[in-house]
Protein backbone atom coordinates (compact mmCIF):
# COMPACT_ATOMS: atom_id res chain seq x y z
CA UNK A 1 0.00 0.00 0.00
CA UNK A 2 1.30 3.43 -0.94
CA UNK A 3 0.61 5.56 2.14
CA UNK A 4 1.35 9.27 2.00
CA UNK A 5 1.23 11.25 5.22
CA UNK A 6 1.13 15.04 5.06
CA UNK A 7 3.35 16.63 7.69
CA UNK A 8 3.42 20.35 8.35
CA UNK A 9 5.96 22.18 10.46
CA UNK A 10 4.32 24.77 12.72
CA UNK A 11 5.63 27.13 15.41
CA UNK A 12 5.88 25.41 18.78
CA UNK A 13 2.66 26.13 20.63
CA UNK A 14 4.80 26.70 23.75
CA UNK A 15 6.44 29.76 22.20
CA UNK A 16 4.75 33.07 21.34
CA UNK A 17 3.32 33.04 17.81
CA UNK A 18 3.29 36.17 15.71
CA UNK A 19 2.35 37.43 12.27
CA UNK A 20 4.84 39.61 10.44
CA UNK A 21 3.86 43.26 10.21
CA UNK A 22 4.98 43.71 6.57
CA UNK A 23 3.02 40.95 4.81
CA UNK A 24 0.78 39.53 7.56
CA UNK A 25 2.24 36.03 7.14
CA UNK A 26 3.36 33.81 9.96
CA UNK A 27 6.74 34.72 11.46
CA UNK A 28 8.31 31.27 11.20
CA UNK A 29 11.72 32.50 12.29
CA UNK A 30 10.39 33.79 15.62
CA UNK A 31 9.62 30.37 17.09
CA UNK A 32 11.00 26.84 17.09
CA UNK A 33 9.41 24.67 14.44
CA UNK A 34 7.79 21.41 15.48
CA UNK A 35 5.60 18.83 13.74
CA UNK A 36 1.97 19.94 13.85
CA UNK A 37 0.59 17.93 16.75
CA UNK A 38 -2.28 16.30 14.87
CA UNK A 39 0.11 15.27 12.11
CA UNK A 40 1.93 13.09 14.64
CA UNK A 41 -1.30 11.12 14.99
CA UNK A 42 -1.48 10.92 11.20
CA UNK A 43 2.10 9.56 11.09
CA UNK A 44 1.26 7.00 13.77
CA UNK A 45 -1.86 5.88 11.87
CA UNK A 46 0.14 5.62 8.65
CA UNK A 47 2.73 3.44 10.39
CA UNK A 48 0.00 1.25 11.87
CA UNK A 49 -1.62 0.76 8.47
CA UNK A 50 1.77 -0.17 7.03
CA UNK A 51 2.41 -2.61 9.89
CA UNK A 52 -0.96 -4.26 9.35
CA UNK A 53 -1.14 -4.25 5.55
CA UNK A 54 2.43 -3.78 4.30
CA UNK A 55 3.54 -1.07 1.93
CA UNK A 56 5.49 2.10 2.30
CA UNK A 57 4.97 5.36 4.17
CA UNK A 58 6.02 8.55 2.41
CA UNK A 59 6.15 11.84 4.29
CA UNK A 60 5.08 14.81 2.16
CA UNK A 61 5.94 18.21 3.57
CA UNK A 62 5.46 21.63 2.05
CA UNK A 63 7.46 24.28 3.86
CA UNK A 64 10.70 26.22 4.12
CA UNK A 65 14.15 24.64 4.37
CA UNK A 66 14.05 24.41 8.16
CA UNK A 67 11.09 22.00 7.89
CA UNK A 68 13.72 19.28 7.32
CA UNK A 69 13.89 18.99 11.15
CA UNK A 70 10.28 17.84 11.18
CA UNK A 71 10.83 15.52 8.21
CA UNK A 72 13.75 13.88 10.06
CA UNK A 73 11.56 13.29 13.08
CA UNK A 74 8.81 11.68 10.99
CA UNK A 75 11.43 9.42 9.41
CA UNK A 76 12.86 8.61 12.86
CA UNK A 77 9.38 7.55 13.97
CA UNK A 78 9.44 4.99 11.15
CA UNK A 79 8.32 6.51 7.83
CA UNK A 80 10.27 5.13 4.87
CA UNK A 81 11.01 8.18 2.76
CA UNK A 82 10.09 11.82 2.32
CA UNK A 83 9.27 14.40 -0.30
CA UNK A 84 9.95 18.01 0.64
CA UNK A 85 8.16 20.61 -1.44
CA UNK A 86 10.23 23.74 -0.92
CA UNK A 87 10.30 26.86 -3.05
CA UNK A 88 10.30 30.57 -2.24
CA UNK A 89 7.43 30.88 -4.72
CA UNK A 90 5.22 28.90 -2.32
CA UNK A 91 5.64 31.33 0.58
CA UNK A 92 2.37 32.88 1.74
CA UNK A 93 0.18 30.36 -0.12
CA UNK A 94 -3.33 30.04 1.33
CA UNK A 95 -5.23 26.78 1.84
CA UNK A 96 -6.62 26.72 -1.70
CA UNK A 97 -3.15 27.14 -3.22
CA UNK A 98 -1.62 24.66 -0.79
CA UNK A 99 -4.15 22.02 -1.82
CA UNK A 100 -3.19 22.63 -5.45
CA UNK A 101 0.54 22.37 -4.74
CA UNK A 102 0.10 19.18 -2.73
CA UNK A 103 -2.13 17.72 -5.44
CA UNK A 104 0.70 18.28 -7.92
CA UNK A 105 3.25 16.69 -5.59
CA UNK A 106 0.94 13.71 -5.04
CA UNK A 107 0.92 13.30 -8.81
CA UNK A 108 4.59 12.38 -8.49
CA UNK A 109 4.37 10.15 -5.42
CA UNK A 110 1.07 8.43 -6.28
CA UNK A 111 -1.03 7.20 -3.34
CA UNK A 112 -3.54 4.66 -2.12
CA UNK A 113 -4.29 6.67 0.96
CA UNK A 114 -3.37 10.20 2.01
CA UNK A 115 -3.45 10.80 5.78
CA UNK A 116 -3.20 14.16 7.52
CA UNK A 117 -4.06 15.85 10.79
CA UNK A 118 -7.51 17.41 10.71
CA UNK A 119 -6.09 20.90 11.23
CA UNK A 120 -2.84 22.69 11.97
CA UNK A 121 -2.19 24.58 15.17
CA UNK A 122 -1.06 27.70 13.27
CA UNK A 123 -3.66 28.54 10.60
CA UNK A 124 -6.37 26.18 11.84
CA UNK A 125 -8.38 26.33 8.63
CA UNK A 126 -9.09 22.59 8.76
CA UNK A 127 -10.08 22.55 5.09
CA UNK A 128 -7.11 20.90 3.39
CA UNK A 129 -8.50 17.35 3.41
CA UNK A 130 -11.75 18.46 1.78
CA UNK A 131 -9.99 20.62 -0.82
CA UNK A 132 -7.54 17.86 -1.65
CA UNK A 133 -10.21 15.22 -2.11
CA UNK A 134 -12.12 17.54 -4.43
CA UNK A 135 -9.02 18.26 -6.49
CA UNK A 136 -7.98 14.61 -6.59
CA UNK A 137 -11.49 13.31 -7.27
CA UNK A 138 -11.30 10.76 -4.44
CA UNK A 139 -13.44 10.24 -1.32
CA UNK A 140 -12.70 12.24 1.83
CA UNK A 141 -13.04 10.88 5.35
CA UNK A 142 -12.48 13.76 7.74
CA UNK A 143 -12.14 13.92 11.55
CA UNK A 144 -11.54 10.17 11.78
CA UNK A 145 -11.01 8.65 15.23
CA UNK A 146 -10.89 5.06 13.96
CA UNK A 147 -9.83 3.64 10.60
CA UNK A 148 -10.02 0.07 9.29
CA UNK A 149 -8.84 -1.08 5.91
CA UNK A 150 -10.03 -4.26 4.27
CA UNK A 151 -8.72 -4.75 0.77
CA UNK A 152 -9.72 -1.65 -1.13
CA UNK A 153 -12.46 -0.76 1.34
CA UNK A 154 -11.87 1.75 4.11
CA UNK A 155 -14.22 2.03 7.08
CA UNK A 156 -13.92 4.81 9.58
CA UNK A 157 -15.57 6.54 12.48
CA UNK A 158 -15.70 10.29 12.16
CA UNK A 159 -16.41 12.40 15.21
CA UNK A 160 -19.45 14.65 15.19
CA UNK A 161 -21.18 16.93 17.65
CA UNK A 162 -23.55 14.09 18.56
CA UNK A 163 -21.04 11.19 18.77
CA UNK A 164 -19.68 9.64 15.61
CA UNK A 165 -20.70 8.56 12.14
CA UNK A 166 -19.63 5.29 10.58
CA UNK A 167 -18.54 5.92 7.03
CA UNK A 168 -17.14 3.70 4.28
CA UNK A 169 -15.32 4.46 1.09
CA UNK A 170 -13.16 2.84 -1.54
CA UNK A 171 -9.47 3.52 -1.82
CA UNK A 172 -7.79 5.68 -2.90
CA UNK A 173 -9.00 8.21 -0.37
CA UNK A 174 -8.00 11.19 1.75
CA UNK A 175 -8.30 10.74 5.54
CA UNK A 176 -7.90 13.43 8.20
CA UNK A 177 -7.50 12.29 11.79
CA UNK A 178 -8.22 13.61 15.28
CA UNK A 179 -6.16 13.00 18.42
CA UNK A 180 -8.44 10.27 19.72
CA UNK A 181 -7.35 7.91 16.96
CA UNK A 182 -4.13 6.60 18.57
CA UNK A 183 -1.14 7.40 20.77
CA UNK A 184 1.81 8.51 18.62
CA UNK A 185 5.03 6.61 19.28
CA UNK A 186 8.27 8.30 20.24
CA UNK A 187 11.21 8.03 17.90
CA UNK A 188 14.07 5.93 19.22
CA UNK A 189 17.78 6.62 18.89
CA UNK A 190 17.96 3.70 16.43
CA UNK A 191 15.18 5.39 14.46
CA UNK A 192 17.14 8.66 14.51
CA UNK A 193 20.20 6.88 13.10
CA UNK A 194 18.13 5.02 10.49
CA UNK A 195 16.46 8.27 9.41
CA UNK A 196 19.80 9.66 8.30
CA UNK A 197 19.97 7.03 5.55
CA UNK A 198 16.38 7.39 4.32
CA UNK A 199 15.79 9.20 1.03
CA UNK A 200 14.45 12.75 1.12
CA UNK A 201 13.55 14.14 -2.29
CA UNK A 202 13.43 17.92 -2.58
CA UNK A 203 11.00 19.35 -5.14
CA UNK A 204 10.78 22.91 -6.40
CA UNK A 205 7.83 24.36 -8.31
CA UNK A 206 9.11 23.14 -11.67
CA UNK A 207 9.92 19.62 -10.40
CA UNK A 208 6.38 19.19 -9.11
CA UNK A 209 4.74 20.73 -12.18
CA UNK A 210 3.33 23.62 -10.15
CA UNK A 211 2.35 26.75 -12.05
CA UNK A 212 4.08 29.65 -10.27
CA UNK A 213 1.18 31.96 -11.14
CA UNK A 214 -1.17 29.86 -9.02
CA UNK A 215 0.75 29.89 -5.74
CA UNK A 216 2.33 32.36 -3.33
CA UNK A 217 1.14 35.36 -1.38
CA UNK A 218 0.66 37.64 -4.41
CA UNK A 219 -1.70 35.17 -6.09
CA UNK A 220 -3.63 34.06 -3.03
CA UNK A 221 -7.42 33.99 -3.19
CA UNK A 222 -7.63 35.08 0.42
CA UNK A 223 -5.97 38.03 2.11
CA UNK A 224 -5.19 38.85 5.74
CA UNK A 225 -6.56 42.38 6.01
CA UNK A 226 -5.81 43.02 9.65
CA UNK A 227 -4.73 41.23 12.78
CA UNK A 228 -4.44 41.99 16.47
CA UNK A 229 -2.90 40.39 19.52
CA UNK A 230 -5.16 38.02 21.39
CA UNK A 231 -6.77 39.90 24.28
CA UNK A 232 -5.20 39.25 27.66
CA UNK A 233 -7.06 36.58 29.57
CA UNK A 234 -9.47 38.17 32.05
CA UNK A 235 -9.20 37.37 35.73
CA UNK A 236 -11.35 34.36 36.61
CA UNK A 237 -14.46 34.83 38.72
CA UNK A 238 -14.25 33.38 42.21
CA UNK A 239 -17.48 32.09 43.68
CA UNK A 240 -17.52 31.53 47.43
CA UNK A 241 -19.66 28.57 48.39
CA UNK A 242 -22.11 29.66 51.07
CA UNK A 243 -24.31 26.61 50.72
CA UNK A 244 -25.53 27.79 47.35
CA UNK A 245 -22.38 26.88 45.34
CA UNK A 246 -24.21 24.35 43.17
CA UNK A 247 -26.88 26.83 42.21
CA UNK A 248 -24.26 29.48 41.42
CA UNK A 249 -22.37 27.08 39.16
CA UNK A 250 -25.60 26.19 37.34
CA UNK A 251 -26.38 29.90 37.01
CA UNK A 252 -22.95 30.57 35.52
CA UNK A 253 -23.20 27.69 33.05
CA UNK A 254 -26.68 28.84 32.03
CA UNK A 255 -25.46 32.41 31.50
CA UNK A 256 -22.82 31.05 29.11
CA UNK A 257 -25.43 28.85 27.43
CA UNK A 258 -23.56 25.64 28.37
CA UNK A 259 -26.74 24.22 29.91
Amino acid sequence: MNIVVLVKQVPDTESPRKLKSDDSTLDRAAADGVINELDEYAIEEALKIKEAHGGEVTVLTMGPAKATDSIRKALAMGADKAVHLVDDGLAGSDALQTSYAIQQALGRTGFDIVILGSESTDARTGVLAAMLSERLGVPQITLANKVEIDGSAIKAQRVTDYGYDRVEATLPAVVSVVEKINEPRYPSFKGIMAAKKKPVETLGLGDAGIDAAQVGLANAATEVVDFADAPARAQGQIVTDEGDGGAKIAEFLASKKFV
Binding site: Y186, F189, I192
Partner: protein
Protein backbone atom coordinates in the same frame (compact mmCIF):
# COMPACT_ATOMS: atom_id res chain seq x y z
CA UNK B 1 14.96 28.38 29.12
CA UNK B 2 16.57 25.17 27.93
CA UNK B 3 20.35 24.94 28.03
CA UNK B 4 22.17 26.16 24.93
CA UNK B 5 24.17 23.25 23.56
CA UNK B 6 26.72 22.93 20.83
CA UNK B 7 26.46 19.34 19.67
CA UNK B 8 28.82 17.51 17.33
CA UNK B 9 26.32 15.88 14.93
CA UNK B 10 22.77 16.20 13.61
CA UNK B 11 21.85 12.88 15.25
CA UNK B 12 22.97 14.18 18.63
CA UNK B 13 20.77 17.25 18.13
CA UNK B 14 17.83 14.97 17.35
CA UNK B 15 18.76 12.85 20.36
CA UNK B 16 18.62 15.88 22.68
CA UNK B 17 15.26 16.86 21.12
CA UNK B 18 13.97 13.32 21.77
CA UNK B 19 15.24 13.44 25.36
CA UNK B 20 13.52 16.78 25.98
CA UNK B 21 10.28 15.42 24.55
CA UNK B 22 10.44 12.31 26.73
CA UNK B 23 11.33 14.43 29.76
CA UNK B 24 8.41 16.79 29.17
CA UNK B 25 5.81 14.12 28.37
CA UNK B 26 6.89 11.10 30.41
CA UNK B 27 8.96 12.40 33.35
CA UNK B 28 7.54 15.83 34.22
CA UNK B 29 3.94 14.64 34.76
CA UNK B 30 5.09 11.91 37.19
CA UNK B 31 7.92 13.44 39.20
CA UNK B 32 6.09 15.39 41.89
CA UNK B 33 3.77 12.57 43.01
CA UNK B 34 6.44 9.87 42.79
CA UNK B 35 8.92 11.89 44.86
CA UNK B 36 6.27 12.64 47.46
CA UNK B 37 5.10 9.04 47.73
CA UNK B 38 8.51 7.40 47.35
CA UNK B 39 7.31 5.38 44.36
CA UNK B 40 9.96 3.81 42.16
CA UNK B 41 9.15 4.56 38.49
CA UNK B 42 10.19 1.28 36.86
CA UNK B 43 8.04 2.01 33.80
CA UNK B 44 10.01 5.18 33.11
CA UNK B 45 13.21 3.15 32.73
CA UNK B 46 11.38 0.86 30.28
CA UNK B 47 10.38 3.91 28.24
CA UNK B 48 13.92 5.32 28.28
CA UNK B 49 15.30 1.89 27.39
CA UNK B 50 12.90 1.50 24.45
CA UNK B 51 14.00 4.89 23.16
CA UNK B 52 17.62 3.74 23.33
CA UNK B 53 18.69 6.16 26.05
CA UNK B 54 20.13 3.51 28.39
CA UNK B 55 22.66 2.20 25.90
CA UNK B 56 24.06 5.38 24.39
CA UNK B 57 27.76 5.05 25.32
CA UNK B 58 28.01 1.37 24.34
CA UNK B 59 28.96 -0.01 20.90
CA UNK B 60 26.36 -0.85 18.26
CA UNK B 61 27.24 -4.57 18.26
CA UNK B 62 25.57 -4.89 21.68
CA UNK B 63 22.61 -2.76 20.72
CA UNK B 64 24.26 0.43 21.95
CA UNK B 65 24.17 3.91 20.47
CA UNK B 66 27.96 4.35 20.06
CA UNK B 67 27.74 7.92 21.32
CA UNK B 68 30.66 9.81 22.83
CA UNK B 69 30.48 10.74 26.51
CA UNK B 70 30.22 14.37 25.41
CA UNK B 71 26.76 13.55 24.01
CA UNK B 72 25.64 10.87 26.47
CA UNK B 73 26.28 13.13 29.47
CA UNK B 74 24.20 15.94 27.99
CA UNK B 75 21.31 13.51 27.57
CA UNK B 76 21.78 12.54 31.21
CA UNK B 77 21.80 16.23 32.17
CA UNK B 78 18.48 16.80 30.37
CA UNK B 79 16.96 13.88 32.29
CA UNK B 80 18.41 15.20 35.57
CA UNK B 81 16.94 18.64 34.88
CA UNK B 82 13.44 17.18 35.10
CA UNK B 83 13.86 14.22 37.46
CA UNK B 84 17.09 13.79 39.40
CA UNK B 85 16.15 10.33 40.74
CA UNK B 86 15.81 9.02 37.20
CA UNK B 87 19.05 10.71 36.14
CA UNK B 88 20.84 9.05 39.05
CA UNK B 89 19.18 5.75 38.14
CA UNK B 90 20.36 5.95 34.54
CA UNK B 91 23.88 6.73 35.73
CA UNK B 92 23.87 3.84 38.22
CA UNK B 93 22.50 1.49 35.57
CA UNK B 94 25.36 2.49 33.23
CA UNK B 95 27.84 1.91 36.08
CA UNK B 96 26.44 -1.57 36.77
CA UNK B 97 26.76 -2.51 33.06
CA UNK B 98 30.36 -1.27 32.83
CA UNK B 99 32.26 -4.20 34.42
CA UNK B 100 30.58 -6.74 32.14
CA UNK B 101 31.18 -4.57 29.08
CA UNK B 102 34.82 -3.81 29.86
CA UNK B 103 35.96 -7.04 31.55
CA UNK B 104 33.42 -9.74 30.62
CA UNK B 105 34.14 -12.56 28.18
CA UNK B 106 32.52 -12.50 24.73
CA UNK B 107 30.19 -15.24 25.92
CA UNK B 108 29.12 -13.29 29.02
CA UNK B 109 28.62 -10.12 27.04
CA UNK B 110 26.50 -11.65 24.30
CA UNK B 111 24.39 -13.44 26.93
CA UNK B 112 23.71 -10.53 29.25
CA UNK B 113 24.59 -7.17 27.74
CA UNK B 114 21.78 -6.74 25.15
CA UNK B 115 19.02 -7.16 27.78
CA UNK B 116 20.84 -4.77 30.11
CA UNK B 117 21.38 -2.10 27.47
CA UNK B 118 17.80 -2.26 26.16
CA UNK B 119 16.55 -1.50 29.67
CA UNK B 120 14.67 -4.82 30.00
CA UNK B 121 17.00 -5.66 32.88
CA UNK B 122 17.69 -2.80 35.26
CA UNK B 123 21.00 -2.84 37.12
CA UNK B 124 22.25 -2.16 40.64
CA UNK B 125 25.84 -1.73 41.76
CA UNK B 126 27.02 -3.19 45.07
CA UNK B 127 30.37 -1.84 46.24
CA UNK B 128 29.90 0.10 49.51
CA UNK B 129 29.44 -1.54 52.89
CA UNK B 130 28.25 0.04 56.11
CA UNK B 131 31.81 0.46 57.39
CA UNK B 132 33.47 0.68 53.96
CA UNK B 133 32.18 3.57 51.89
CA UNK B 134 35.08 5.80 51.01
CA UNK B 135 37.49 2.88 51.59
CA UNK B 136 36.12 -0.04 49.56
CA UNK B 137 39.28 -2.13 50.10
CA UNK B 138 38.06 -2.59 53.69
CA UNK B 139 35.04 -4.59 52.49
CA UNK B 140 34.08 -7.82 54.25
CA UNK B 141 31.46 -9.46 52.01
CA UNK B 142 32.94 -12.77 50.88
CA UNK B 143 32.65 -15.04 47.86
CA UNK B 144 33.88 -18.57 48.52
CA UNK B 145 34.61 -20.92 45.65
CA UNK B 146 32.69 -24.19 45.93
CA UNK B 147 33.21 -26.46 42.92
CA UNK B 148 31.70 -24.78 39.85
CA UNK B 149 30.15 -21.99 41.81
CA UNK B 150 30.76 -19.21 44.30
CA UNK B 151 28.81 -18.71 47.49
CA UNK B 152 28.42 -15.05 48.53
CA UNK B 153 27.83 -13.84 52.08
CA UNK B 154 27.73 -10.34 53.53
CA UNK B 155 25.83 -7.05 53.29
CA UNK B 156 26.12 -4.24 50.74
CA UNK B 157 24.96 -0.81 51.84
CA UNK B 158 23.42 2.13 49.98
CA UNK B 159 22.49 0.12 46.93
CA UNK B 160 20.54 2.22 44.42
CA UNK B 161 17.70 0.09 42.96
CA UNK B 162 18.22 -2.44 45.80
CA UNK B 163 15.17 -4.72 45.64
CA UNK B 164 14.02 -3.21 42.33
CA UNK B 165 16.87 -4.21 40.03
CA UNK B 166 16.96 -7.25 37.75
CA UNK B 167 20.68 -7.83 38.23
CA UNK B 168 23.32 -6.86 40.79
CA UNK B 169 26.95 -6.19 39.99
CA UNK B 170 28.54 -7.24 43.28
CA UNK B 171 32.08 -6.77 44.58
CA UNK B 172 33.05 -9.38 47.17
CA UNK B 173 36.22 -10.64 48.80
CA UNK B 174 37.69 -13.87 47.37
CA UNK B 175 40.86 -13.69 49.49
CA UNK B 176 42.29 -11.72 52.40
CA UNK B 177 44.83 -10.07 50.14
CA UNK B 178 43.51 -6.53 50.83
CA UNK B 179 42.82 -4.54 47.67
CA UNK B 180 43.87 -7.50 45.51
CA UNK B 181 41.48 -9.92 47.20
CA UNK B 182 38.25 -8.61 45.68
CA UNK B 183 36.32 -10.06 42.71
CA UNK B 184 33.31 -8.93 40.69
CA UNK B 185 30.13 -11.01 40.21
CA UNK B 186 26.96 -10.82 38.13
CA UNK B 187 24.08 -11.80 40.42
CA UNK B 188 20.59 -12.02 38.87
CA UNK B 189 17.60 -10.92 40.95
CA UNK B 190 15.71 -13.88 42.30
CA UNK B 191 18.85 -15.85 43.17
CA UNK B 192 18.07 -17.65 46.47
CA UNK B 193 19.66 -15.91 49.46
CA UNK B 194 19.56 -12.44 47.85
CA UNK B 195 17.56 -10.37 50.36
CA UNK B 196 16.88 -6.68 50.88
CA UNK B 197 16.41 -4.54 53.95
CA UNK B 198 13.61 -2.01 54.11
CA UNK B 199 14.60 0.90 51.80
CA UNK B 200 16.33 3.86 53.49
CA UNK B 201 14.02 6.73 54.51
CA UNK B 202 16.02 9.48 52.84
CA UNK B 203 16.04 13.27 52.81
CA UNK B 204 15.55 13.34 49.04
CA UNK B 205 15.62 11.27 45.86
CA UNK B 206 12.61 9.40 47.22
CA UNK B 207 11.83 8.16 43.71
CA UNK B 208 15.10 6.23 43.76
CA UNK B 209 15.13 3.20 46.02
CA UNK B 210 18.20 2.83 48.23
CA UNK B 211 18.53 -0.34 50.28
CA UNK B 212 21.00 -2.65 51.96
CA UNK B 213 21.45 -5.84 49.96
CA UNK B 214 21.95 -8.99 52.06
CA UNK B 215 23.87 -11.89 50.61
CA UNK B 216 22.97 -15.00 52.59
CA UNK B 217 24.57 -18.02 50.96
CA UNK B 218 23.92 -16.65 47.46
CA UNK B 219 25.18 -19.29 45.03
CA UNK B 220 26.14 -18.19 41.51
CA UNK B 221 27.91 -20.20 38.79
CA UNK B 222 31.65 -19.57 38.50
CA UNK B 223 30.84 -18.27 35.01
CA UNK B 224 29.14 -15.28 36.67
CA UNK B 225 32.49 -13.93 37.87
CA UNK B 226 33.44 -10.92 35.77
CA UNK B 227 37.17 -10.53 35.16
CA UNK B 228 39.87 -12.47 37.01
CA UNK B 229 39.80 -13.42 40.67
CA UNK B 230 41.26 -10.50 42.59
CA UNK B 231 40.60 -8.00 39.80
CA UNK B 232 37.40 -6.67 41.39
CA UNK B 233 38.68 -3.51 43.01
CA UNK B 234 40.53 -2.34 39.91
CA UNK B 235 37.33 -3.01 37.90
CA UNK B 236 35.38 -0.94 40.45
CA UNK B 237 37.89 1.89 40.39
CA UNK B 238 37.96 1.87 36.55
CA UNK B 239 34.21 2.49 36.48
CA UNK B 240 34.23 5.23 39.09
CA UNK B 241 35.62 8.02 36.91
CA UNK B 242 32.85 7.59 34.34
CA UNK B 243 30.30 7.31 37.16
CA UNK B 244 31.54 10.61 38.60
CA UNK B 245 30.99 12.30 35.26
CA UNK B 246 27.46 10.87 35.24
CA UNK B 247 26.73 12.43 38.62
CA UNK B 248 28.32 15.72 37.52
CA UNK B 249 25.92 15.78 34.56
CA UNK B 250 22.86 14.96 36.68
CA UNK B 251 23.84 17.64 39.23
CA UNK B 252 24.25 20.18 36.43
CA UNK B 253 20.77 19.30 35.17
CA UNK B 254 19.34 19.62 38.65
CA UNK B 255 20.90 23.09 38.97
CA UNK B 256 19.58 24.07 35.53
CA UNK B 257 16.09 23.01 36.59
CA UNK B 258 16.36 25.11 39.76
CA UNK B 259 17.66 28.11 37.80
CA UNK B 260 14.81 27.84 35.26
CA UNK B 261 12.21 27.70 38.03
CA UNK B 262 13.77 30.68 39.82
CA UNK B 263 13.99 32.82 36.68
CA UNK B 264 10.40 32.05 35.71
CA UNK B 265 9.21 32.99 39.19
CA UNK B 266 11.35 36.14 39.34
CA UNK B 267 9.82 37.39 36.10
CA UNK B 268 6.26 36.90 37.35
CA UNK B 269 6.49 37.85 40.99
CA UNK B 270 6.30 41.57 41.67
CA UNK B 271 7.49 43.55 44.67
CA UNK B 272 7.53 47.33 45.06
CA UNK B 273 5.73 47.64 41.72
CA UNK B 274 8.03 45.62 39.47
CA UNK B 275 9.14 42.08 38.78
CA UNK B 276 11.66 40.92 41.35
CA UNK B 277 14.14 40.05 38.57
CA UNK B 278 14.32 43.83 37.99
CA UNK B 279 15.63 44.35 41.51
CA UNK B 280 19.40 44.17 41.35
CA UNK B 281 19.73 42.28 44.63
CA UNK B 282 17.89 39.27 43.22
CA UNK B 283 19.02 39.75 39.64
CA UNK B 284 22.64 39.29 40.72
CA UNK B 285 21.75 36.15 42.67
CA UNK B 286 20.21 34.77 39.46
CA UNK B 287 23.27 35.81 37.45
CA UNK B 288 25.56 33.96 39.85
CA UNK B 289 23.30 30.91 39.59
CA UNK B 290 23.49 30.97 35.78
CA UNK B 291 27.29 31.32 35.94
CA UNK B 292 27.50 28.34 38.30
CA UNK B 293 25.38 26.15 36.02
CA UNK B 294 27.35 27.06 32.90
CA UNK B 295 30.72 26.53 34.56
CA UNK B 296 29.61 23.11 35.87
CA UNK B 297 28.56 22.12 32.36
CA UNK B 298 31.80 23.34 30.82
CA UNK B 299 33.83 21.45 33.43
CA UNK B 300 32.15 18.07 32.94
CA UNK B 301 32.19 18.43 29.15
CA UNK B 302 35.89 19.19 29.25
CA UNK B 303 36.54 15.97 31.17
CA UNK B 304 34.20 14.04 28.83
CA UNK B 305 36.15 15.19 25.78
CA UNK B 306 39.37 13.88 27.34
CA UNK B 307 37.67 10.53 27.96
CA UNK B 308 36.31 10.44 24.41
CA UNK B 309 39.81 11.07 23.09
CA UNK B 310 41.10 8.11 25.10
CA UNK B 311 43.22 10.26 27.39
CA UNK B 312 43.45 10.00 31.19
CA UNK B 313 40.66 12.00 32.82
CA UNK B 314 40.54 10.84 36.45
CA UNK B 315 41.61 14.19 37.92
CA UNK B 316 39.24 16.07 35.61
CA UNK B 317 36.36 13.70 36.46
CA UNK B 318 36.87 14.39 40.16
CA UNK B 319 37.05 18.14 39.52
CA UNK B 320 33.84 17.94 37.48
CA UNK B 321 32.02 15.99 40.20
CA UNK B 322 33.24 18.42 42.87
CA UNK B 323 32.38 21.58 40.93
CA UNK B 324 29.04 20.39 39.56
CA UNK B 325 27.68 19.07 42.85
CA UNK B 326 28.94 21.96 45.01
CA UNK B 327 27.49 24.37 42.44
CA UNK B 328 24.19 22.46 42.42
CA UNK B 329 23.99 22.76 46.21
CA UNK B 330 24.53 26.51 46.02
CA UNK B 331 22.22 27.06 43.05
CA UNK B 332 19.34 25.04 44.53
CA UNK B 333 19.74 26.80 47.89
CA UNK B 334 19.65 30.17 46.13
CA UNK B 335 16.59 29.08 44.14
CA UNK B 336 14.74 28.60 47.43
CA UNK B 337 15.88 32.10 48.41
CA UNK B 338 14.61 33.63 45.16
CA UNK B 339 11.19 32.07 45.71
CA UNK B 340 11.19 33.21 49.32
CA UNK B 341 8.42 31.78 51.46
CA UNK B 342 6.94 30.05 48.42
CA UNK B 343 10.25 28.29 47.88
CA UNK B 344 10.10 26.82 51.37
CA UNK B 345 6.75 25.17 50.66
CA UNK B 346 6.13 21.94 48.81
CA UNK B 347 3.88 23.78 46.35
CA UNK B 348 7.07 24.57 44.42
CA UNK B 349 9.81 22.11 43.44
CA UNK B 350 12.84 24.10 44.64
CA UNK B 351 12.85 22.76 48.21
CA UNK B 352 12.99 19.27 46.69
CA UNK B 353 15.83 20.30 44.38
CA UNK B 354 17.75 21.54 47.44
CA UNK B 355 17.25 18.23 49.26
CA UNK B 356 18.27 16.32 46.12
CA UNK B 357 21.43 18.37 45.63
CA UNK B 358 22.76 17.52 49.09
CA UNK B 359 23.29 13.83 48.40
CA UNK B 360 25.22 14.59 45.23
CA UNK B 361 28.00 16.01 47.39
CA UNK B 362 28.04 12.68 49.23
CA UNK B 363 27.58 9.74 46.87
CA UNK B 364 29.84 8.47 44.08
CA UNK B 365 32.75 9.53 46.30
CA UNK B 366 32.18 12.33 48.80
CA UNK B 367 33.48 15.71 47.76
CA UNK B 368 36.19 15.30 50.39
CA UNK B 369 37.31 12.14 48.53
CA UNK B 370 37.25 14.11 45.27
CA UNK B 371 39.57 16.68 46.82
CA UNK B 372 41.80 13.82 47.97
CA UNK B 373 41.92 12.42 44.43
CA UNK B 374 42.64 15.84 42.94
CA UNK B 375 45.37 16.66 45.45
CA UNK B 376 47.06 13.28 44.98
CA UNK B 377 47.19 13.95 41.25
CA UNK B 378 48.83 17.29 42.03
CA UNK B 379 51.37 15.62 44.32
CA UNK B 380 52.47 13.10 41.68
Amino acid sequence: MPAVRHLPTSESEDLIALTRELAAKELAPRVTAAEREGAFPREVFATLGAAGLLSLPYPEEFGGGAQPYEVYLQVLEEIGAVWASVGVGVSVHALSCFPLFAYGTDEQRSAWLPGMLSGERLGAYCLSEAHAGSDPAAMRARAVRDGDSYVLDGAKAWTTHGGEADFYTVMARTSDDGARGISCFHVPAGTPGLEFDRPEDKMGLMGSTTATVRLEGVRVPAGNRIGAEGQGLSIALAGLDAGRLGIAAVATGLAQGALDTAVRYAKEREAFGRAIIDHQGLAFVLADMAAAVESARATYLSAARLKDAGRPYGREASIAKLIATDNAMRVTTDAVQVLGGAGYTRDFPVERYMREAKVMQIFEGTNQIQRLVISRHLAR
